[in-house]
């Protein structure tokens, strides 16, 4: 018999703590799991009792406790709608910013909404695949990967800017390469850094155009290829000259430039990729079973109607517009073309 009751999200106890002074609702939310911790308290007492009865050594006690805790299933009906967002920029205060988005969605949807922070593109996809989160703000590539792993899931909204996203190639001033419309072939033979391995704008699309124009894999084209792991870090590394050329999300660059964090005498944009679709909200297909048949539509409406500039700044996007899976076919094809994803399932 398939057990219908869903287990509580274990991560509840693991949550990266909220900022003191973040909103009350989410504070309360993190304590709503009192049920499970009370349960554990009972287990603890029980264990101490039985352990005290049978074993005298502290080691034995700890062992018994360990055993019981490992097998203790924490049952609780799941009514919480959980979402995550890939770490993209300004990760440090993600929790603070996305808790506000959670509050907004909770008001609009009438169910409890929680945000879980993740550290990498892969962990966002895994959380989505394992139903730890039902909704995620993915990049182009991570969205394609996620929807492939979870049949029935849908891209429902994208940022206005994501229709025509783009990456910059940036170069250290010592290379003497200037900005051009043409692909800068002279980057061949230089040292080069991508961002994160799973990033659309920091890896996938730049690699695609590098292969297209220089007719070989980056490892063959460049003297050295690194993965900085992060857009901000790519900028820092190219600015310092540690890598001579790099690829970066255009939005992260523009934001950093506007914030005065870039020394234009040391690093500049030398090329912009053609436009491609990027970030999007993707929801699991099975939310209808749990939250009601019209849930996906209400969720989509809530996202499209989000107009509070403070909330939109979390992404940062002007507004959200409708999206669908087919929009991301080019991303899938590109990933398949460079071997990041298998063409056949």
């Amino acid at each position: 018999m398939p057990l219908k009751s869903n287990r509580s999200i274990a991560i509840a106890n693991l949550e990266v703590p909220r900022l003191a002074g973040s909103n009350k609702d989410s504070y309360k939310d993190s304590h709503d799991h009192g049920d499970s911790s009370r349960y554990n308290k009972e287990v603890l007492k029980l264990t101490q009792l039985t352990a005290g009865f049978h074993m005298n050594s502290s080691l034995g006690r700890s062992l018994g406790l360990l055993f019981l805790l490992l097998i203790a299933p924490i049952c609780q009906a799941q009514t919480t709608f959980t979402f995550t967002a890939i770490p993209d920029q300004n990760e440090a205060h993600l929790q603070e910013r996305f808790d506000k988005v959670a509050v907004y969605l909770q008001q609009e949807l009438g169910v409890e909404v929680r945000y879980i922070p993740v550290k990498s593109y892969a962990s966002a996809v895994t959380a989505f695949r394992n139903d730890q989160v039902q909704l995620a703000w993915f990049g182009g590539l991570s969205g394609v990967q996620a929807r492939r792993l979870v049949p029935g899931s849908q891209a429902i909204a994208q940022g206005y800017e994501d229709q025509l996203f783009s990456s910059y190639l940036i170069a250290h001033s010592s290379t003497g390469i200037n900005k051009s419309e043409e692909f800068p072939r002279e980057i061949a033979g230089k040292t080069f850094t991508f961002g994160s391995k799973g990033s659309t704008s920091g890896r996938l699309m730049p690699e695609y155009y590098i292969r297209q124009h220089l007719l070989a894999a980056p490892s063959k084209v460049f003297a050295k290829v690194g993965f900085s792991g992060d857009h901000s870090r790519t900028i820092a590394l190219v600015q310092s000259g540690a890598y001579k050329v790099g690829a970066v999300n255009f939005k992260v660059w523009d934001t950093a430039l506007a914030a005065g964090k870039i020394d234009s005498s040391k690093v500049k944009v030398i090329w912009q990729t053609p436009r491609y679709p990027d970030y999007q909200w993707t929801v699991r297909g099975d939310v209808a079973n749990r939250f009601g048949a019209d849930f996906q539509q209400r969720l989509t409406d809530a996202l499209l109607n989000m107009n509070d500039p403070e909330l939109l700044a979390s992404f940062p996007r002007q507004l959200f517009i409708a999206a669908n899976n087919a929009l991301y076919k080019p991303i899938f094809d590109t990933a398949a073309a460079i071997g990041l994803i298998d063409a056949q399932p």
């Binding site: 869903n6 106890n13 700890s62 360990l66 550290k119 892969a122 900085s228 600015q239 540690a242 020394d263």
Partner: protein, 510 residues
């Protein structure tokens, strides 16, 4: 000082030590000639200035965040070590069996981060994942330590038993073990386990890199954002936790801390058999064989091709790079350890030892990832930052251990001072011990080459990380098996060397 009274056996053994050291250095030099050691001269001062400014002006962005992530870091480490020492002890009982040894070498060859990535697939980003990611590789390590301690126990305790007690049932051999071997090994086991606890705290912190809410989560985030003041706040907190352990983590309070850790962070996960089944029956099955009801020539051919591709493009280059980097780092680590150990030795820095050890704690607590980034800024991308990062980290660890070992030395009244003391008295007497530590660290170094993706050095770990990033668990598994093979080979070789050189692996001080 090698005195004339030493037996010829000791002479030949000293020669063997010299020869071994020579060969290791020679191999490392050979590897150096093949390694990429380009130093490009970038302009790091801007970024280094920001880092220095941050280091000097640490800020705490949020105390609750800092304290909870510290508590999480501590809890994962303590739970992990507790579970690992129990399991490790059980496995150590069978350590004379090759199969058990290979199994232990296998589980500890996989970096904590990769264990975490594996468990995340099944148990999600949960406290159970954090516990197992530490407990499993540490169980492998502790089994090795305990097992070798048991082997090295003074055999007279057993041989003095009446002969009829040498045969008999399992319970009898168990009680024989408990009354002879265990008491003799116990003290070393306890001290070694407590030392591993410090390592477990570092491992626990690093688990934050994949998203578990330990201090590494915030450290990595703030570092990659270039937010160095906040990063310094988190780093100093971790440093303080490790540096003060000996003051508050006392033996009698241990059960209390342990219960506290389990109460604060009970291991649990939202998982189901479906997830486990999916992982085993789909995810890790090589792509060409997936969904095939039975094997036929065609699918086997496709598998052969798939494997061949993987071998040519990832496994072989990965093996070469891992070993190349590993050998260089090993010897550099050794040199650095010999240079650094006086910092933690009463023979050299009598009044300043606390300060000296503080430097070593600082050096070994700095995450390799951060050291690699620093090196990358200064030297540009090549193997140089990798060698420095891994060498400094591991050199400080071995330096600390060797320094502690010098506590045991009793010196003659007319012994020299300064360099004479170092070269003619202390170095020869600790050399055996030093080599034993270095061989222990060998496989750790190989494992740690995994986390240097920022430098683009294509080690096995680099490809394993890529495979996880691309959701190709089938590839990840094969690559993990390859690195496990390498580890088992290194383990056997180090064991052979240890026996040949009569190295005692554990000093009583450990």
């Amino acid at each position: 000082m090698i005195s004339a009274s030493k037996s010829s056996h000791r002479d030949s053994s000293a020669k063997a030590l010299r020869n071994t050291s020579f060969w290791f250095a020679a191999v490392a030099l050979l590897c150096l000639s093949m390694a990429d050691l380009d130093i490009s001269t970038p302009n790091p001062w801007g970024e280094l200035g920001l880092m220095a400014a941050g280091a000097l002006s640490p800020t705490v962005w949020s105390w609750p965040t800092l304290l909870t992530s510290l508590a999480n870091t501590f809890s994962f480490a303590l739970q992990g070590i507790a579970l690992a020492s129990v399991v490790g002890f059980l496995m150590a009982l069978g350590y004379r069996f090759t199969l058990v040894r290979a199994f232990c070498a296998f589980i500890r060859s996989i970096h904590e981060l990769f264990w975490a990535l594996l468990f995340i697939q099944i148990a999600g980003l949960s406290s159970l994942t954090g516990l197992l990611a530490i407990a499993i590789p540490y169980a492998g390590t502790l089994a090795k330590i305990y097992g070798e301690l048991f082997e090295e126990v003074d055999p007279s305790a057993i041989t003095n038993l009446p002969s009829h007690s040498h045969t008999g049932s399992l319970s009898r051999s168990l009680s024989r073990f408990c009354y002879t071997v265990l008491p003799l090994a116990w003290r070393s086991m306890a001290t070694y386990t407590s030392y591993r606890f410090e390592c477990a705290i570092r491992s626990s912190a690093i688990l934050g890199f994949v998203g578990l809410p330990t201090i590494g989560f915030h450290l990595e985030t703030t570092l990659s954002e270039g937010n160095y003041s906040e990063a310094a706040g988190f780093f100093y907190a971790l440093l303080l936790l490790i540096a003060t352990l000996r003051f508050w983590l006392q033996k009698r309070l241990l059960p209390l801390y342990l219960i506290g850790a389990f109460y604060y962070l009970p291991p649990q996960a939202q998982t189901s058999w479906q997830l486990v089944k999916r992982f085993i029956s789909e995810d890790i099955v090589p792509a060409p064989l997936r969904g095939q009801a039975n094997l036929n020539a065609e699918s086997l051919g496709a598998f052969g091709q798939w494997f061949n591709q993987l071998w040519q493009h990832q496994i072989w280059p990965g093996l070469v790079n891992t070993m190349l980097l590993g050998q260089i780092v090993l010897v550099f680590t050794g040199l650095l350890a010999l240079l650094l150990f006086p910092l933690n030795s009463p023979l050299f820095f009598r009044g300043w030892r606390g300060f000296g050890d503080a430097i070593l704690i600082l050096l070994r607590t700095l995450p390799e990832y951060l050291l690699a980034f620093l090196g990358l800024l200064i030297f540009g991308p090549s193997m140089v930052p990798a060698i420095l990062a891994l060498g400094i980290h591991n050199g400080a660890i071995i330096g600390h251990l060797v320094g502690r070992h010098t506590d045991e030395l009793t010196l003659r009244a007319d012994v020299g001072t300064g360099l004479n003391l170092y070269f003619y008295e202390v170095l020869p007497r600790i050399y055996r011990q030093f080599l034993a530590f270095l061989f222990y660290r060998w496989e750790v170094i190989l494992r740690e080459t995994a986390i240097l993706g920022i430098l683009g050095i294509a080690t096995l770990g680099f490809y394993i990380d890529s495979a996880f990033e691309e959701f190709r668990f089938d590839r990840a598994l094969i690559l993990i098996l390859a690195s496990a093979m390498l580890n088992i080979g290194v383990d056997n070789f180090a064991r052979w060397l240890r026996q040949r050189l009569h190295l005692k692996s554990m000093p009583e001080s450990l």
